[in-house]
Amino acid sequence: MAGLTYDQGPSLVAPLRLFLLAPLFLMLAAVAGIALGPDWLSGRWSPAALALTHLITLGYLGAVMQGALLQMLAVVLGSPMPWSGVLSWCGQLGLGIGSPLLAAGLLFGAPVCLGVASVALALAWLPFLAGVAVALSRALSGGEMDWPLRLAGLALPVTVLTGLALAGALAGLWSVPDLAGLVDLHAGWGLYGWILVLVVGVAYQVVPMLQITPAYPRRVTRALAWLLPAGLLAYTLEVLSGLPGLHWLGLAAAGGGSLVFAAATLTLQQRRRRKLADVTLDFWRLGLAALILSTLLYAGLGVLPDSLRTGAELSLGLLFLLGFAASVVNGMLYKIVPFLAWFNLQSQTGARAGTIPNMREMIDEAAGRRHFRLHVVAVCLLVPAPFLPAWLASLGLLALALSGHGLWLNLRAARAAFLAYGGRL
């Protein structure tokens, strides 16, 4: 029986270090976007758009996902990450230095920034990859439930190594034979293979456990065990071979898998046993709705006229990264951090019930909801931004900065409650 085995997991401090770093990059991306003006709206491959994208994917999502995996592989695969304290330091230092330098390097085309960023990001990711590999190699297979995590564990090194190869090539350290193909592989494996598939693997565990729903039906986990890897394989072969038929095969598998996952999760959440208002649930519903819309928009890109396509591609990226990934990640943080804080506090102090804050008291519900509202405003203004006046995009970025600030304050509040009741970091 799978379950949370926190006695094998790291202390609160290792993941929290990364969780507290992450919102700073959300704020930095938003402030940088405001400072850059409408440059980033000109297309997804513009230097400004690439810079902002990497602040969000590496700095924000990367830091949260590293922190979550530090304690979650023990949970899901029964195999704890080794060296979690060291990996957490490497992640904090490497992402903290590497993400802004990479963004600056992409923005200004500065080889020195790109070169130093590559070294820092290698520090953040290569030891982490080794830790994931050790944990995966020690884990016993739990069947279809494990599949997404194992696939994400494969997608991460592909994303990291293609990213480092691209950064090195742009820094002039070496050349790569097919730059455009490598960019497509990096983006596809990163966004789909790593982010989406990891969310699926984590959802299998945390949705039933923390949102008190029935388990994912067997037919869903079985279908996704085929659809998710098939989508990634078809996409990869399409990039490598250019055969047009593979695009539709990949779209059917990846799009079908995304829709099955979103529909199954929304259905389970509808059947949760306790119908209490919960900001995590709101974040998840928003995220899953954005995943459905992203899938439909991706499928429809091919039929859009050229005049709309550039803007629609940018909207798709914003919908997937902010609407889906950031929403789901925010929702998970509001469960994971209070639970880790409560559990570590209980373990360290041996306190009886009622003498320490419970999970709901670690982060104020109203403060979580304020953060959610700001996030909704940011998503609603930024997703259609390519088609709206530029000042609305700036307003959306302002909401994004405030939402990152709200998240940071809320995570700090959980840390403060932990310390105030005698917890030791």
Partner: protein, 73 residues
């Protein structure tokens, strides 16, 4: 049979099940036991019980819930 304290925490949100067990431990008299019912195996509870000096037995029930019997060690 000695007195038994029933803690039915099925479908409660974490960490309330564990909090209820910790609360029941305070009320547990000599020779008594706690019968704890829960919808998932409460793995985080077990190291806490070990550290506090309690023994536990885990049984998977036919309906998929778990029964954990807890006694002083």
């Amino acid at each position: 049979m000695n007195k038994e304290i029933l803690v039915d925490a099925r479908w409660l949100e974490p960490p309330e099940p564990i909090e209820r067990v910790l609360d029941a431990l305070d009320r547990l008299g000599v020779g008594e036991r706690i019968r704890f019912l829960i919808h998932r195996e409460p793995l985080p509870l077990f190291p806490i019980l070990d550290r506090l000096g309690y023994r536990h037995e885990v049984r998977l029930l036919d309906d998929g819930d778990f029964e954990i019997l807890i006694r002083a060690g």
